[in-house]
Every structure is written in structure tokens, then in C-alpha cells.
Symmetry: C2
Subunit: 552 residues, 2 copies
């Protein structure tokens, strides 16, 4: 333990509430935090204004310290301790904070804005593909959950139950929705009568609750936000097409917006959603090379329609059970963005989902320079806002420009524009890229002339967007290794990489791999190599390669 | 009871689930439904295709009947039974349905689209006025609720409590948020240190739970959707300004978007939010002249900051408690829209929040007319969509044009465009207004030429928007009566109207009015008459007039 070296950074550790009586060590264990280390690259890389000394006293409130708390923390280097780095980034960039109840999370404005960017894109795509938004109640009668056998098995250990309402013990316990298939089917059964009512294609943006034991901000929390799509179709073919269409929407989103080169594929039977016939997934490689399941789309077959009697009269007058799908992406995706692109300096955001795409830092020393610089900065901000960009002008006088450079780099803003007195005279600005550190990423003398500036900034943002994706692709590809035997698989996994190999072995073998290596089948990727394949475990013929990896 | 005259219309009454074993009469009582009456103006007003006979058998499923169920129901005339009319409109227009748990509601796509229109407008206004969206967990430790004395008194009878999580009894019961002031203050206490952290202005879109005994779709449900704004300020003046600013945002929204001429004002002490110093409200008059509290904004003073120790260091280095506000609008507002504008035919939606602003109905008889008519209809749809309008082309062949006219009128679509073979030849269309029934609202020969058509349609939509507001204003004003004595007040209330009169009497007198008349002080309106005033109850001098009315 190195906690004595440096005091913890999360404001929640200083909570004056009833929870504060727990020691911070307990809290850290409770939240699976590791204490941040002493040497922080963020402070080290500060170009100016040396970091103020950390003089907090654990458990004691000092107002001066707190005033600085938000901005002068140190981020553990990513290479040193990925998990500590992740938590430091979330705290320092003010993405989220811990809620008072174990495993819950408060999503702060900067983190929520990333979620809003995800929503804005997907919401349009869902409507374009024929889905309507609606809202189902979050309280589900306990008996509903029990109707679909594998569903109850999968979810019952994770349920939060309401047993008291309006001061009275309830006759039937209510489940706080962990997912909505059951209540959706209860309602679909009332709305679907004929083939003319199909397909029925809906989506809801909602909160869901799963009583997880091991939590981690964004990645796995007791309550999280998501969208869940639910559809009903007249034929199995249509349901399959829909499930595939939606995993494709997610894949495009991941590549084009989040610059995350996910691998889309099919889950193994062992990893399939509780109640689904097939689960499609997008798997992302995080910076520590662990896999993150970033979105799933399920072909539910007739499992829920049989359990809930969701039938329709087909064109021949016959009653049939509907074929269904469900699909979801959650606030976990925000964790995926952090862990894909971040570096020792902090967050690095793809321009298309960055809450701030360009930060403008005015620089002056003498009083007589101030007006000119601030006017120029405002006019540059206006030009870029008019061009549809998300711009932040940081004109506070409480901080030095150097401090601001570091702060906004840590917050992952893709581009920084600096404007000083000399820039004002020459009618130009200095532009720095977040993804290329130091002088290499800095260009001087970009004209303030609106059309030139707008074009330059937009081109750079496009370049950053592409560059982040390319970098992630090359990281991913250099960490996936083809294996043809279990020995090779074990070695690759022990190196922290992903193993890809032909697989046609049993569920028992798959579980054995998990026990012995910690890795699971992430998916059978859609993209399959040509040629005959021999199962790495059994030596039998295999139809497909599977990807094995440790995962979140 | 007239339930034997006609069978019930809500699909939920035919639920095949475990809940179906309850008789429909029980269900109706449980849901505060009244059985719809036999004579329905909707079917009567059908211009063509006589309504098919209602041949359902209560409790028995007939697939043929169900196929027609959604569209051939009868709406109780509004004048006959306002409550039955309201529930019929919600069922027939597919705005919402009952959830499986008592008092919960499923918001269906058409109803949710109205909520989305509300969100789209307000979300922009909140950001323009400096607020950021974020998200707080919905589970609140029970001890939090107890910290603010009047808050716990107000909310504890309505709480839903989670007592079991992950299969285990919890050490501390968790409240499913009824509102978030407590958890917000718990977090604000950790984030606010200095005056430089103020003002802190946030908003969240979320679901909330209140264990209400008497529920009604949209108006009062066990779970509902809302936005809740929460702000913290350095001075009481700033907090007051913020509370007033937000009630003003709501007022403008109500007038300009929803065409609801709400009366903004201040709540009496008796009606003030549990934990607030002052509550501002917008009060709307529904079609039955009952008042609906459609939005509130609270000046919380230092009540929560003292309870939670939310302090900041001011510019002089002194520790002070912050001054706060909170404000909310919920899915209840959708109920307000229905009950303000609807008529015997069904829903009537203001164009600015209508999910469909223009419906296009192609009309043909002979096969050789079909292609020409459908092509023209598609091209008209395209013209209007390109102009940014929300357009629905109803080209299904399963229904007659007359049936479609009625259906979309019932759904409240502001404008209908009819296109038949003769219109195709003349290059023109027929346009009907939802707000002016029959021939008066119908205009022939509007050119299909894009610029002419677009201008005509947009002008008509603007006219409808204004006309709905004017109509609602004149209805409101003809139903508010100035009173100067308690006798007059009682008479006005007994006539179902609103009474406005000078008031400076005690809380006890206010409660007596409620007991004796069923009316409460809806607000002290911001707009006050000039001159000296004498309290209608006590004869003492009064500073203000108050508005009394029965309410939802």
C-alpha cells in the first residue's frame, strides 16, 4: 500500500455525510479504488504555474485546499496503474463522482455531455431505421421475471426489490427494472393482434438497476443509463435481420463517432443473453488490452413471446408467436471512450463526441494588451461557433495560460487556440492538437480570417478524428494474435493480448479456458478468415474462429 | 352504472396476463376509470365508412375484433363526462396505456412524441439560461430524506422503498427518488467550496416515483418523467431571480408552444413545496375548468443547504450556506395539453408540439387513378418534409379515406391534405383544419407548386397555433370571476369556475375554504389589479388577490 505517500483525490472521499465515517481505505476497497501514486505526469507536464503542494489533511476540511481541489490533482500515469489512471481521469476531468449508495454514480455535466452526444447520434439512427421512442414503467411485478426460465436465472441474483410503497408492505414485490423484456412483452401481448401490427419497433431511453457486487464508474454501476430497443416481427428471418441491422448501427457509431474500432460478432452460447437465442456484440479493446463489451443486440426468437403469450394472427388466419429482438448501449460506452483514447495527460476525446471541440486561451501580460487580446479571442470564438463548432473561451483571470493548457488537455479537448498580443497584431492564431503532444502538434500563424480559420479548424478536427481511429486500429491489431493450440492461447492471454483461433469445442471447454486463463470468448467475429480450420482445443474441424480475451 | 350499455374500450382490460383475472369492474375502480357511454360522437362524425359494430365480448379474445380494436372505438363526448372522455382519448389516440403495477403508465409512441417536443424546446432554453444536464442516482439513503424537516413530512407518505438488493436485506432502506433535493445537496456539498464555484446550475431529465393513491394517466401516476433543475447561489437575490426566471421560461413555453394560457403566480404558504421558502407556479385551466398545476419553481432559501451543510467561502473569507432553487415540469403537462385543447372528436394538438403536423390522405377509386394520386401525394409529402414540417402520408389500402379522416382528426393532427384524381389533374390539393370542423375548415384548390403550398401550409399552422391560444384565453377569462366576499367565492366555485379575490386571511381560513368548497388557492397571480384591496374573508386590508379553484 502506498496510500501514505499521497492523499486521495476523489472529492467523495471527503464527504461530510454520514458516509464519511467510513475510512477512506474502506471506501477505496468498497469502490475498488486503488490509491493514486505520488508521481503524476499531469503536474509534471505542466508548461507553467508549478502545481501547488497537496496539503490536504485526510478527513479534515480546509476551504483553501478545496478551492484548488478540482484542478490541481495529479493523474497516475496510465502505464503505471491503468485502473488508478482511469479513476483519476474521471475525478479530475469531472466526468463522474460516486453516489452515496454503494456502486452508484453521479454523472457530472462533462461526462453527461459525452452521453448526450451518443444519444443525439443514435436517436436519429433509431428513428431512421423505423423505431419509435416510448416509455415503460420501471417497476415490474416479480412474477414477470419468473416467466422466462433462463431470464430469471440470469437476473435474479442482481435484482433490487421494492417491498414497501406508501408506508405499506406490498402484496407482490416489485423489481426495479434490470432490463425490460418482460414488461415489454406484457404490453406487446395487448397491442399485437394481427400481422398488420407487425413489425412493432420501439426504443426507450431509461435508467436500469443491477445489483452488481464489483462496480467501476461507467463500466459497471448499480444504476446506469441506456437505451433498450425492443422489436416484434412476423418471421424469424425479419427478427434476425433486425438484430444484425442494430449491431451494425452500433458498429458504425463506434467507428465513425467514437473512433473505437470494435469487433462485431456473435457471442458463444455460454455468453449469450439470458433469454436470447443469439447475442451479437461489439467488442472493444481498451488501453490495457482488456475487452469491453460495448453494445449488444439479441435475437430473442420466441422465448419471451411464448412465456408471455405474445401472438398474432398471420395472413392465413393462424395464431403464431412473434419473433423478437432487443438491443442496448449504455453509459458504459463512456468508459470505453475514456479507456480507448486517454493517455498519461488525461482524457482524449474524438472531436465528433467531444463536449468542447476547441478551447480558446487568450494570453496577455500587460494591462494594455488585454482588451485587444480578449476582443480577438471573442471574435474567433464567434466565428467558430457560427461554423457549428463547440467552442469554449477560457477567459478567466484566476488562472495562468499554462495552467489552462494543462487543464483542457487533461479534459481531452481536441484543439486549443492560443491568442496573444503578437497574434493580434499579425491577425493570426496558434493552434495545438491534443493528439500530438508538444511542439509537433503546434502550428503558428493561422489566419483569423473567418473562412480560412474555419476551414483549417474543421480539417484538423477531421484529421484528429481519423488519427484516433487509426491509432486505435493499429493498437488493436498489434494485440490480437492468431493461435492454433491451447498452449498458444494461454501464452497470448498471459501476455495480456487477445487470442484468435478456430473453436468448435464444448461449453465445458470454454468454461475451462475461463477458469485457467481468465479469458472468455468475446465473440465469433463476423469477419472470418478463409480456409479450413481445426479447433485449437479438440483438433476437430471448426467452422469459425473465436476471439478470447480478458474483459471488463 | 351504464357499463352494461357498452363494453370497455381499453386494451389493458383484455390483458391476458395474471392481472386479467381481476374483473374489468375492479380494474376500472382500481384505475379510476368510468365506463364509456354508448353514444360516441367520434363514430357519429365519421364522414364515410360507417363504424363497424362493436362485437367484443368482455374478457374473451376474438382476433378479428382485436384487429379493429385500435381504431374503431367510440369516444365519450367531452360535455357528457369529461373524465371518461379524457381516458377514451388517451386510449384511442394511443397516447398511453396502463402498466401492470397499479398507478403506473406506459407512454406510447404518440404520447411520448409530445413529451419529446416538450423536451426539445425546454432543453435548449435551459442551456441558453446557463444550466448543464447531468444525472444523479435514483436511490437515496432513507436518512437523507429525514434531514430536512418539512421535506420528510411532505414526502414520507409517498415513498417507494427498496429493502432487498442482490438477494439480501439492505442495512439502510433506499428511497426511490420522489425528487432529488436531498441527494443533490449531498453532492453539492462536495463540489461547492468557494464563491467561485457559484452559481452552480444543473438540470436532469429523469423518472421519479411517488406512491400516489389516486392516479390518472399523465396527471398523477406512480412513476412519471420530468426534468428537475437545481441551482445554488451566493446570495438570496440571485436565487430569487433564478426561481423567477425559470417560472418565466415555463410560462413562455406554455403560451408559445403548448398554446396554454397559464397564470403564473406564487403559491400560498399552505401550498408551498415541502422544503421551499417560496413556490412559483403556472396554473392552467382545463376544459372542465379544473385547475392543473403545470409547472413549479421553488426558492429553497437555505433550507437544504443548512440541513446538508452546503457552504461556500465568500469573497471575504467567511463561510456561508448557499441559496438554492429547484424547478420542474413533468409528463403531467401532456395531460394538460389534452385537457386544454381536446374536443368531442378527440385530441387537438397545437402545431408546434404535434408529432404529426400535416397528414396526407390520397383518395382514388379506380385502379388507373391510383398511381397518379400516390405519386402526387408522395411529392407533396416530400415538399413539406423538405420545408421542415412533420408529415405523415397515410397510404394504407386497408382503410377508406373517410375512416382515415376521422382517425387523424381524433389524433389531433392540425392539418389534413386530401389528394384525389381531380386534384391531380388541376395540380392542386384540398386542405382541412382540425380546429374548424366541417366545410368551414376546408379549402379547395391550393396549388401543389412547392413555394405556394409550403407558404400556405405554414401560414395555416401559424393560424391554428394562434387560434388555439386565443380560444383557450377566452375560455379561461370567461371562467374567472372576481369576488369580494366568501359568499361570492362559494357561489363561483359551485358553478365550477375560478374565483379571484383579495386575500390576507390565515392558513386556517384557507384550509376552511378547501374543506367547505373543495377549492384551494392556486396562486397569487403575478398580474395584480391596481388599487386598495379588502380581504374577502376577513375584511382586513389585503395586499394581493388570490385565485381559488378546484384542481387536479
Amino acid at each position: 500500500m502506498v496510500s501514505s505517500l499521497r492523499l486521495p483525490t476523489l472529492t467523495s472521499l471527503f464527504s461530510p455525510s454520514s458516509f464519511a465515517r467510513r475510512s477512506t481505505v474502506t471506501l477505496r476497497r468498497r469502490l475498488h479504488l486503488r490509491p493514486p501514486l505520488a508521481a503524476g505526469s499531469y503536474a509534471q507536464s505542466a508548461a507553467s504555474s508549478p502545481p501547488e503542494t497537496e496539503d490536504r489533511v485526510e478527513g479534515k476540511k480546509s476551504s483553501r485546499v478545496q478551492e484548488r481541489a478540482n484542478t490541481d490533482r495529479v493523474i497516475t500515469p496510465r502505464s503505471q496503474d491503468f485502473n488508478a489512471w482511469y479513476l483519476d481521469v474521471i475525478a479530475n476531468a469531472e466526468l463522474a463522482d460516486y453516489g452515496p449508495v454503494r456502486g452508484t454514480m453521479v454523472i457530472r455535466p462533462y461526462g453527461y455531455a459525452i452521453w448526450e452526444a451518443i444519444q443525439d447520434y443514435l436517436n436519429v439512427k433509431f428513428k431512421e431505421t423505423g423505431h419509435s421512442n416510448m416509455y415503460f414503467p420501471q417497476f415490474i411485478p416479480y412474477s414477470f421475471i419468473e416467466k422466462e426460465a433462463s431470464h430469471v436465472e440470469g437476473f435474479s441474483p442482481e435484482l433490487a426489490l421494492v417491498t414497501i410503497g406508501g408506508g405499506k408492505e406490498l402484496e407482490e414485490k416489485l423489481v426495479v427494472r434490470p432490463t425490460s423484456e418482460t414488461i415489454v412483452n406484457h404490453m406487446f401481448t395487448q397491442w399485437i393482434h394481427s400481422y398488420r401490427d407487425l413489425p412493432l419497433m420501439i426504443n426507450q431511453w431509461a435508467n436500469v438497476t443491477r445489483w452488481e457486487m464489483r462496480t467501476k464508474p461507467f463500466v459497471r454501476t448499480l444504476e446506469f443509463l441506456w437505451q433498450e430497443g425492443h422489436t416484434a416481427h412476423a418471421t424469424p428471418e425479419e427478427a434476425e435481420e433486425e438484430a444484425l441491422q442494430m449491431i451494425d448501427v452500433y458498429t458504425k457509431f463506434a467507428y465513425e463517432q467514437a473512433a473505437i474500432p470494435v469487433i462485431p460478432g456473435r457471442k458463444s452460447k455460454v455468453e449469450t443473453f439470458a433469454g436470447a437465442d443469439k447475442t451479437y456484440t461489439i467488442e472493444a479493446m481498451m488501453g490495457d488490452r482488456k475487452a469491453l463489451q460495448a453494445g449488444t443486440s439479441h435475437n430473442l426468437g420466441q422465448n419471451f413471446s411464448r412465456a408471455f403469450g405474445t401472438q398474432f394472427t398471420d395472413e392465413n388466419g393462424q395464431r403464431q408467436h412473434v419473433w423478437q429482438t432487443s438491443w442496448a448501449i449504455s453509459t458504459r460506452f463512456v468508459g470505453g471512450i475514456i479507456m480507448t483514447h486517454g493517455d498519461d495527460t488525461g482524457l482524449m476525446l474524438p472531436p465528433r463526441i467531444a463536449p468542447v471541440q476547441v478551447v480558446i486561451v487568450p494570453i496577455w501580460k500587460k494591462a494594455d494588451e488585454k482588451t485587444g487580446v480578449l476582443n480577438a479571442a471573442s471574435s474567433v470564438a464567434e466565428i467558430l461557433k457560427t461554423a457549428g463548432l463547440k467552442v469554449k473561451l477560457d477567459d478567466t483571470e484566476q488562472r495562468t495560460p499554462g495552467w489552462k493548457f494543462n487543464f483542457w488537455e487533461m479534459k481531452g479537448v481536441p484543439l486549443r487556440i492560443e491568442i496573444g498580443p503578437r497574434d493580434v497584431s499579425s491577425g493570426s492564431v496558434v493552434i495545438s492538437r491534443r493528439d500530438i503532444p508538444g511542439k509537433q502538434g503546434k502550428v503558428f500563424g493561422i489566419s483569423m480570417e473567418p473562412s480560412i480559420l474555419e476551414a483549417y479548424v474543421k480539417d484538423r478536427l477531421d484529421e484528429i478524428q481519423s488519427s484516433l481511429l487509426e491509432r486505435a486500429i493499429s493498437f488493436r491489431d498489434s494485440n490480437i494474435v492468431d493461435v492454433s493450440s491451447y498452449e498458444e492461447l494461454k501464452e497470448v492471454i498471459s501476455l495480456g493480448k487477445w487470442a484468435r483461433g478456430p473453436w468448435s469445442a464444448s461449453d465445458a471447454d470454454e468454461l475451462r479456458v475461463k477458469e485457467e486463463t481468465g479469458a472468455t470468448i468475446r465473440c465469433y467475429p463476423f469477419e472470418q478468415p478463409q480456409g479450413t480450420k481445426t479447433c485449437l482445443m479438440t483438433g476437430n474441424t471448426a467452422k469459425e474462429v473465436a476471439i478470447f480475451a480478458k474483459s471488463y
